[in-house]
């Protein structure tokens, strides 16, 4: 049994992490994804100790916040596809999204890559993977959906169907297959035998394995898709993952129970998941989260608007597991580079330099944030922190700021001081309420006239597509792979290129990283793109991303904070240690 003092001793490294320098980041990079497990003993020792079975983990979450659709291929709402990631399997999965470590999920082993340059991927599936039978654990009679697929073996045909469904331009739901852009590179999918699928790409694509492991690459059963090409029903949520989706109650909670038939990756003998189930409780109020966590009604917590209670709680209750990690989401501005005033690079650079990124971090996240370049600082593809922090526009030192602001004003004046209008998204509220302050900030720095307006996120997306918004300011979810961060946004043919950007030189660079299969060399190419963007393009001004302060009770074993949505299969390794002293007083129900 682990004692509290030992855990407390490990908190030192958290403090080191707080003062995160690039050197430490590099050191952490060496130990894989473990930086997200600060305060926990290493995985190895955990395995020596027999995990305990049973119990229901209770998490605060956003699963129930909004529902766009339950269709695993048609949702783009992170919390919803997070739920899917516990219920549905993929061909591959991310073991560690930060370091880009991919492992086999439904595949028996990593796909065989054929050709030089590689154009073919042969996937061998695990035999005996069966679709869930919810009625066996939920105590309800089987639904028609369950009768259709429950207990049926997942085969190569299901894999082929799941991808071709999203590639079908004739589908009435075609516009909603949000990840379809990735599959544009697929030339053909061939079922070789019951357990073997062969993917052929049109061109060499380095991130192809990532595409198979990425969110929304879920494998679903054809029987569950209705005539309208939707599977937007709770009853259709039958997959092959570690958890069965009991039900989603909008604005309240989402409940999952253990799938006893789960195939268990490479270790079926462990009979994971250890938990009987987990509940994600939708709580958005700091007071509620704090109160519930103190009473152990939830087992893990993070702040919403006020980080100070987490800081205080950590001092008050020694031995808590803690983690300060970023969230893969970031504040960014998008400029139309093909029309005035932002077709003038000087104006774009002026805005880039004038924007006080530290102020954004302080005003929106109470100081808990990180500077953000063209790629999230969380993933290993990003420009090194120390390089970014030394760049004009990112420098936070007082004198450097003054220099940047002076340069911004000079450029702006040289460009004729055009009036600037910024359009803010209305969500999240913290961003919208920063709008008037950003106006003051830009006005002071540039000495010109700045107008801001706040519009609905939907209208903003619409405006991006129509190209009617010259300068937008929003908060978006981030990506795992380098390609997703750059290609769709900045390539002339990119699906997210709302900038009017056509730059052959940039296109060539973007295509080059796509063709580069050597990871290190691809990273170098990624850095080249990022530097090019910061020096010559400045179409998307990347600002900052939040740092979440997590606390978890010590009895919550295998705790990993959420960095990316869509990684709920991690919970298969989690267990509740009822022998731990901290478990005492944990109420049965929340």
């Amino acid at each position: 049994m682990r004692s509290l003092p030992r855990l407390a001793g490990r908190r030192l490294s958290r403090r080191q992490f707080l003062g995160a320098t690039a050197g430490l980041a590099a050191a952490l990079a060496g130990c894989g994804g473990r930086q997200v497990q600060e305060g926990l003993p290493p995985l190895a020792s955990q395995e020596q100790e027999a995990p305990q079975r049973g119990g229901i983990l209770r998490l605060p979450g956003y699963e129930a916040a909004v529902l766009d659709t339950l269709d695993p291929h048609q949702t783009q709402f992170g919390p919803i596809y997070s739920s899917h990631s516990a219920v549905f399997s993929k061909v591959l999965r991310y073991e560690d999204p930060l370091q880009g470590v991919i492992a086999a999920d439904l595949a028996l082993y990593m796909p065989e890559v054929i050709g030089d340059p590689p154009l073919e991927y042969v996937v061998r599936l695990r035999p005996g993977v069966r679709f869930q039978r919810p009625s066996t654990v939920l105590g309800r009679p089987p639904t028609p959906e369950e009768r259709a697929v429950g207990g049926r073996e997942l085969t190569a045909e299901d894999v082929k169907f799941s991808f071709e469904r999203q590639m079908n331009e004739a589908s009435p739901r075609w516009p909603f297959f949000y990840r379809a852009y990735q599959y544009q590179v697929i030339d053909s999918i061939q079922v070789v035998d019951r357990y073997t699928v062969r993917f052929r790409t049109k061109e060499p694509v380095a991130p192809f394995l990532h595409f198979l492991a990425d969110t929304n690459a879920f494998i679903v059963a054809r029987e569950l898709v209705d005539q309208g090409d939707e599977m937007n029903r709770q009853e259709a949520m039958i997959g092959t993952g570690p958890f069965i989706w009991d039900r989603l109650e909008v604005l309240q909670q989402s409940r999952f129970v253990r799938n006893p038939d789960w195939f268990g990756w490479d270790r079926p003998d462990l009979q994971r998941p250890y938990l009987d189930g987990y509940t994600s409780i939708f709580a958005f109020e700091d007071a509620v989260i704090e109160a519930a966590f103190r009473e152990k009604r939830i087992d893990v917590a993070l702040y919403q608007a006020n980080p100070q209670w987490v800081v205080r709680l950590r001092q008050e209750v020694p031995g808590l597991q803690t983690a300060d990690v970023g969230l893969a989401a970031w504040v960014n501005a998008r400029l139309r580079v093909d029309r005035p005033p932002f077709n003038d690079l000087r104006v774009r650079r002026a805005v880039h330099l004038a924007t006080d990124r530290q102020q954004i971090i302080d005003a929106i996240w109470q100081g808990y944030g990180r500077l953000h370049g063209p790629v999230s600082p969380l993933v290993h593809w990003a420009l090194p922190d120390e390089e970014l922090a030394a760049l004009p526009g990112y420098r936070t030192g007082r004198r450097e700021r003054e220099e940047d602001v002076a340069e911004a004003r000079r450029l702006y004046e040289a460009a004729g001081k055009p009036p600037i209008e910024v359009t803010f998204s209305n969500i999240p509220p913290g961003l919208a309420s920063y709008a008037p302050q950003y106006k003051r900030q830009l006005e002071q720095a540039l000495g010109g006239q700045v107008d801001v307006r706040v519009i609905a996120q939907n209208d903003l997306s619409e405006g991006h597509r129509q190209g009617t918004i010259p300068f937008s300011f929003a908060f978006d979810n981030g990506w795992i792979d380098l390609d997703d961060w750059l290609y769709p946004y900045f390539h002339s043919r990119g699906t997210k290129n709302s900038f009017g950007l056509r730059d052959p030189q940039l296109d060539a660079l973007l295509e080059a990283q796509r063709r580069e299969f050597d990871r290190e060399r691809r990273r170098e190419l990624g850095w080249q793109v990022q530097r090019y963007l910061l020096e010559r393009v400045l179409a998307r001004l990347d600002m900052a991303s939040p740092v979440e302060l997590w606390v978890a009770w010590p009895y919550y074993r295998g705790f990993r904070p959420l960095v990316f949505f869509g990684t709920s299969y991690f919970l298969a390794d989690v267990w509740l240690d009822s022998r731990h002293p901290s478990f005492r007083g944990r109420p049965e129900g929340a």
Partner: protein, 300 residues
């Protein structure tokens, strides 16, 4: 003067209410138009409030660190300290007064006027008129206030003018109900019947003989409703901040400050204090007016 001596509390309340209105206004600028909030509450534009030294969104840096001066305690520079975004709380409070107070005043003025008219007419004529009007009110009342506000801002571009009108709609059914109940109990009084018998017109009877009776409850409704209107805006800021136009307001200050209530209570205390003071002042003023207006209370 006699009123002042007899009702010291009421006089004090009147002074506070007046002070708040004064705090909310600024130097008038000769640009006229339909009343709109927050810049043109009385039909002409006004500049920075007399009592505010800074703009509502002005932010301040910490001299030492060069970062936003967040959650500064009260000082000579910032009388009520600064908030989570490094803005002056006093300045926001004063700017917020213009927005919140005038929003509530306009909403209640429209709402009580409409409600009183409907209530008096309805109870005076009774019969079909009453039945019809009352069912109409039932329908109007069917919507909880927050829902009305959210519907309003989702159907029309969110603005304070829309909020004020929506709040007035919310107030009408309640006001008319109270008024109607009072009128019902006096319409058969001898003085009303006598006036009718002497040939006075319906309008004259309603205005001269019925209306004075309802002034007492109406003042109470008005003063109670004022707090309600400020709170409704606060509630909206809490439930869906994105629907509330971004600007300094008491409600927004409360909604933003609530998360830090224990660590940095000054933001919530300032905004909550302002609301409580306003509600109290208008309530006491209402009481005093009622006492003065209702002659039957004098001997007591």
């Amino acid at each position: 003067m006699r009123a002042l001596r007899r009702k010291p509390l009421g006089a004090l309340a009147a002074a506070v209410a007046l002070a708040m209105v004064v705090a909310a206004v600024g130097p008038p600028e000769p640009r006229f138009g339909l009343p709109d909030l927050p810049d043109r509450p009385l039909g002409f534009e006004m500049g920075r409030p007399f009592l505010a030294r800074y703009g509502p969104e002005d932010f301040f840096y910490d001299e030492e660190t060069g970062r936003l001066a967040r959650f500064q305690p009260p000082s000579a520079r910032h009388w009520l300290g600064t908030d989570d975004k490094g803005r002056d709380v006093w300045a926001r409070l004063v700017w917020g007064t213009r927005r919140s107070l005038f929003l509530a005043l306009w909403a209640l003025a429209l709402g009580t006027a409409g409600g009183t008219a409907i209530g008096v007419v309805s109870a005076y004529f009774l019969g079909r008129t009453d039945l019809l009007l009352q069912r109409l009110m039932d329908a109007l009342q069917a919507f909880p206030p927050l829902l009305v506000l959210m519907l309003a801002v989702s159907l029309v571009e969110p603005s304070l003018r829309v909020l004020a009108v929506a709040l007035a709609f919310v107030a009408v059914p309640g006001v008319q109900r109270v008024v109607r109940s009072v009128v019902l109990s006096v319409r058969n009084e001898t003085y009303v019947e006598a006036a009718r018998a002497m040939g006075a017109s319906h309008l004259r009877v309603m205005v001269r003989h019925v209306l004075p009776n309802v002034m007492a409850p109406v003042t109470v409704v008005f003063s109670v409703g004022l707090g309600g209107a400020v709170l409704a805006e606060a509630g909206l800021s809490f439930i869906d901040p994105s629907t509330v136009p971004q600007a300094a307001s008491w409600g927004l200050m409360l909604a933003e400050g609530r998360s830090f209530m224990f660590e940095h209570p000054h933001v919530v205390l300032a905004a909550g204090g302002a609301i409580a003071l306003a509600v109290m002042a208008f309530n006491l003023l209402g009481d005093a007016l009622r006492d003065l207006l209702d002659p039957r209370l004098r001997p007591l």
